[in-house]
């Protein structure tokens, strides 16, 4: 039987949870059809792309996630163009180095798709795409973890914004889709490679923030209760 993980084992470096507060800032611009979306994606600032690919995860955070970004959701529900939605759902912004590269890739995708269409798809009335960016405050909370037990307590205490910041947005900050703040801390402070791998295997696109919190807790506590590691 694999050895039990000790929840009380101290970490070399404590984990400090940060909190992330976003306020959307509407741009006063909307797309009524796919061509207008393409033009806006070409022209609007990087903050707008960042909002609709990343920050909207925290702002809209639906209890169940069907579409991984706001563009694919819009294609499906507003344009009712399922083929385009499928393409946009598979688009992974974490594959690109910077937002300019993301913009180029989305522009290419939309342009190529439009090129082959006989008519431009229009949004259902009332479902126009409204562009936003956001202002952000990131604040170190008073919640820290020196052990795995503290970490689980902290995960329960922090707001969903903190889960978003450390588990989703951090991948962009760290420049790699596979690594988030939580698993990085576990990797660098404990000998728990299976747990780290299990956390990195969570498909971030289809977990809501509350599901993410529950899954993380169940993985960590599962290891402690006898799932074992190593």
């Amino acid at each position: 039987m694999a050895p039990l993980c000790n929840l009380e084992q101290p970490a070399a470096n404590p984990f400090w949870f940060s909190e992330c507060f976003l306020i959307p800032m509407p741009m006063g611009r909307a797309a009524l059809n796919l061509r207008e979306l393409l033009h806006a994606v070409r022209e609007l600032g990087n903050g707008v792309l960042f909002y609709h690919f990343f920050q909207s995860r925290l702002i809209t955070n639906p209890p169940e996630i069907e579409y991984p970004n706001e563009f694919s959701a819009w294609a499906a529900t507003a344009l009712q163009d399922i083929k385009l939605s499928e393409k946009l759902s598979s688009f992974d912004p974490f594959e690109y180095q910077n937002l300019e590269a993301v913009r180029q890739a989305v522009t290419d995708l939309l342009e190529e798709y439009l090129w082959d269409l006989p008519t431009v798809p229009w949004a259902r009335p009332g479902l126009e795409f409204h562009f936003c960016q956001a202002s952000t405050i990131v604040m170190r909370s008073e919640i820290s973890a020196a052990t795995l037990r503290d970490f689980c307590t902290g995960l329960r205490q922090v707001g969903l914004d903190s889960i978003y910041y450390h588990f989703f947005e951090s991948r962009w900050r760290l420049g790699t889709r596979e690594v988030d703040d939580f698993s990085y801390w576990l990797e660098t402070n404990f000998e728990l490679p299976d747990l780290v791998a299990a956390i990195r295997n969570i498909d971030i696109y289809f977990y809501s923030l509350q599901e993410t919190r529950k899954t993380l807790l169940s993985l960590i506590e599962g290891v402690a209760e006898g799932g074992g590691d190593g």
Binding site: M25, P26, N61
Partner: protein, 407 residues
């Protein structure tokens, strides 16, 4: 008085603790809210709820109300309607009187503040007289200003552009302004009479008093009897449903006294419902919050078949009761309802009938949609989220040149 801690069992301890941390970071600040009425109307309701809670968080918050004569309020009603897109005629004399009343009010205000939040157009010109009395002036527009009547907006824009920032309720209401615009969506208070939990016997008592039997599934729409809420369309849908499944329809709400079409619509609704014992038209007084709450809790399906809508707080309230909601795909309803997740969006009476039938025969799905809808509201549309947004906004406005602040 409601205590901030009362929200802990509803919103979660982490949400309330976070408010304290944000308020500590912000530090003691003086905030003045200004609007045009102490009672009645959505803004007064919002301020009555939010101000005591902000005070509990350590802020020094006051609420000023501007005074005016009947002509002034006639003008501001016109401004309100013009912002909503109605072609309201305005004369130079009206604009001048609006400015003059604000000038008179400005003479009475002696406070000094860190932030002034001016609600809607009525007190907007105060900034022209009181600018030095506060560091930050923020215009809070609660109105659907997506397509304002241009001549009136041109006039108002010259006033609003003097502010340091403005806040709108939905992205589509944002305007071309030379300062930062923020989005703070409306919210509901889960502890208000409209939304607080009711015991089943209290719900039953209300239905008995309103003479609504619960022998068949109940379909409910809560709204004023005006054309944009499409009560006639709801009755058409109900009659289509009843060809297949027995049920009752309740249309509950007040008269639209400020809508010239109101009496005609109500007469049409009464005509369409006459002689049908399964259709209940309930004309309720404006303070019937508890009755509305009970009706929503008794309903099997709640509909909001609007053809035009601001944010649609009646939808939020229905979702908070854990009910499956079917809404018209307009305004803020589309931000709240996602097909097959938190409800259904429809575009016609036929669409509404189809989705009602679908849900009546899939009670498990109806329960699931209702559960997800309640959770969605809990996360995004409770008053605690609005408090968090205001605290965040104030910290951001302390650092106006930065869109990203890290502490």
């Amino acid at each position: 008085m409601v205590n901030l801690d009362d929200y802990i069992p509803i919103a979660g301890p982490e949400v309330v603790e976070q408010l304290h941390r944000l308020a500590d970071r912000l530090g003691p600040r003086r905030v003045v809210n200004i609007n045009s009425t102490r009672v009645g109307g959505g803004v007064a309701e919002i301020l009555s709820c939010a101000i005591p809670l902000l005070k509990q968080l350590g802020l020094e918050v006051s609420w000023e109300v501007i005074q005016g004569d009947p002509f002034f309020f006639e003008i501001t009603k016109g401004l309100h309607n013009a912002l909503q897109g109605y072609r309201v005629p305005f004369t130079d004399q009206m604009f001048a009187h609006y400015q003059e009343v604000n000038r008179e009010n400005a003479r009475k205000f002696q406070w000094e503040a860190d932030y002034v939040i001016v609600h809607d157009p009525q007190p907007a010109p105060l900034i022209e007289h009181l600018r030095p009395q506060a560091r930050q002036w923020i215009w809070r527009c609660h109105i659907d200003a997506s397509r304002p009547h241009l001549p009136v907006w041109r006039f108002l824009r010259e006033i609003v552009r003097q502010y340091d920032a403005s806040i709108f309720s939905m992205s589509k209401f944002a305007q071309n302004l030379p300062h930062p615009q923020y989005l703070i969506t409306p919210s509901i208070d889960p502890l208000s009479a409209k939304n607080i939990d009711l015991a089943p016997e209290d719900v039953a008592a209300v239905l008995d008093r309103l003479e609504v039997e619960r022998d068949k599934p109940l379909i409910l729409q809560v709204s004023r009897f005006d054309s944009f809420k499409d009560p006639i369309g709801v009755i058409q849908a109900f009659k289509l449903v009843r060809r297949h499944t027995p049920c009752r329809l309740i249309l509950a709400g007040g008269e639209a006294t400020d809508d010239p079409e109101g009496p005609r619509i109500l007469a049409e609704v009464q005509e369409a419902a006459s002689g049908d014992p399964d259709i209940h038209i309930l004309l309720l007084p404006p303070d019937s919050h508890r009755d509305i709450n009970a009706l929503q809790r008794a309903a099997d399906i709640i509909v909001q078949k609007s053809t035009r809508e601001g944010f649609g707080l009646t939808v939020t309230e229905a979702m908070w009761k854990g009910k499956p909601v079917i809404g018209g795909a307009v305004g803020g309803i589309v931000l709240q309802i996602q097909d097959y997740h938190t409800g259904f969006l429809v575009h016609s009476p036929e669409g509404l009938a189809f989705r009602i039938r679908y849900l009546l025969h899939r009670p498990e799905l109806a329960r699931r949609l209702g559960g997800l809808a309640r959770e969605f509201v809990r996360l995004h549309f409770l008053v605690t989220r609005k408090l968090r947004d205001y605290l965040t906004l104030m910290i951001l406005r302390d650092n106006p040149d930065s869109r990203f602040i890290e502490f």
